[in-house]
Symmetry: C2
Subunit: 101 residues, 2 copies
């Protein structure tokens, strides 16, 4: 398994319009066939010191392996998303995790 | 869906012994029946500026809903894990994400 988890901070933090545009862009990528499991999220109501709640949208993808994630990275639909939506975010943090050896 | 993603930074960064203890503790929690999907991970080989690679171990849990996650938080097996393993880590970062409304 290869876990790819992306957190987006919008330039216009709290803008429902920009959030909707980003969500629309993400939803267009759900057709990419290498994706096994996905979740489009927002911060939950949970509240403890260790919880990072500052982001606006999260994008969790699970692939079978690194190679499938690489196919996704260069996929035309993914490239179109970056082209169309990258002006919306101020910051992106990515966690890529693989099985423990 | 409720996504609970935890990233652990060990006190003794790079200690294979402490990492093994933490992994053992995490594996003991996989019996908790509210967990729908789980992944125990470590940083992948991917390398871009936006990728956070500093953590030692990641723990991804997917629950059906917030309520199941709350059952997990107070589960005796989870409490035993924190009791047994919390001295191992220097930092924990948690992302809790729910479906976009």
């Amino acid at each position: 398994m290869f876990v790819h988890h992306v957190f987006f901070w919008l330039k216009n933090a709290g803008s429902e319009e920009d959030k909707a545009k980003l969500l629309e862009g993400l939803r267009e990528m759900t057709s990419i066939k290498e994706i096994r499991t996905l979740h489009i999220g927002e911060p939950a109501s949970t509240n403890r010191d260790v919880i990072e709640k500052g982001y606006d949208v999260s994008w969790l993808l699970i692939f079978d392996n690194l190679e499938d994630q690489e196919v996704y990275q260069v996929h035309p639909v993914h490239k179109a998303f970056v082209e169309k939506c990258s002006s919306l975010w101020a910051k992106v943090v990515v966690y890529d995790a693989t099985d423990v050896k």
